[in-house]
Subunit: 143 residues, 2 copies
DNA sequence: CTACGAGCTAGAGGCGGGTCTAGATCAAGC
DNA sequence: GCTTGATCTAGACCCGCCTCTAGCTCGTAG
């Protein structure tokens, strides 16, 4: 959950790794996979220099990944962006669909949470009063 | 999100698959991996018959998995249950820790959602008024 | 000038979590 | 008895997503 501070200068790969939470390996991998919105600049010596826009985009990537967007879809989005203006409706559809999935996911997690909470409550009570029998004992009936 | 109806008779693997949402392959795989709380009964002919307790447990497994518990931890929990009464405090710790992770996850997802919502809003507005320039255009400045 | 860490490429490797295959067996209906 | 579909085992395979290795270069500090 690292906050990604906005940056005005170009950054080396290590700095970008620090700011985005991605490893340098992952950054190079993402680039190979075509997940970036344009070629990363290089120094004379061949080192990558990430622009603020690159870093900004990577920040979004991290959020989309964290919320379960597969790399393939991220790649598709990056392609749309790379194609330039004109396909915004499709980008919107993609983001919007993902947003719905995130909401479904949150609902599912909340349901899981409450089911787990019940189990936790049962265990907590039994443990508290030392009467820890009759729950998930494969040789007994479930409580 | 299939509701798992409570059952009073033993079931074959296909029926369990239907009820839990796990594939028959996954059910056998889980068993091999020691994720069940006891040996599954077999018919004379060697087919598995899952007791209501088994099905119940699998239902919990599904929820724990859905909410991100790794198989290794599920296995650990199953081991504790298999050992029988006496280790309830440890089971409780395990469940409780997982519950906290689920809550963190929900919070993280909510944060992602709101960040995505901002992007969606920006795109929606631009698309609605046809002025879809200046956003994530790698050749321009970001909006 | 030298040393040393950070970065480079291409490609292999690994891990989690299943999924699928082959070839055999079981069980129910015709 | 025969067919058909579900199940069995052991083990190979796959996919997503990185992570690591080898062997080299860059660039900064002493």
């Amino acid at each position: 959950m690292a906050m990604i501070e906005t940056v005005t200068e170009s950054l080396g790969i290590g700095e970008v790794a620090d700011r985005t939470g991605l490893s340098v390996h992952a950054l190079r991998f993402y680039e190979r996979e075509g997940l970036l919105i344009g070629p990363v600049h290089r120094t004379a010596g061949g080192r990558r220099r990430y622009s603020p826009t690159d870093v900004d985009w990577l920040g979004i990537c991290v959020r989309l990944r964290e919320s379960g967007m597969p790399l393939a879809e991220l790649k598709r989005f990056a392609e749309l962006v790379r194609q330039g203006p004109g396909n915004e409706p499709e980008r919107l559809r993609l983001l919007d669909a993902h947003q719905h999935r995130v909401e479904d996911q949150i609902r599912a997690l909340e349901e899981c949470r409450s089911i787990i909470a019940v189990k936790v409550g049962v265990y907590a009570e039994h443990v508290a009063r030392g009467t820890a029998a009759g729950l998930w004992d494969p040789t007994a009936t479930e409580g």
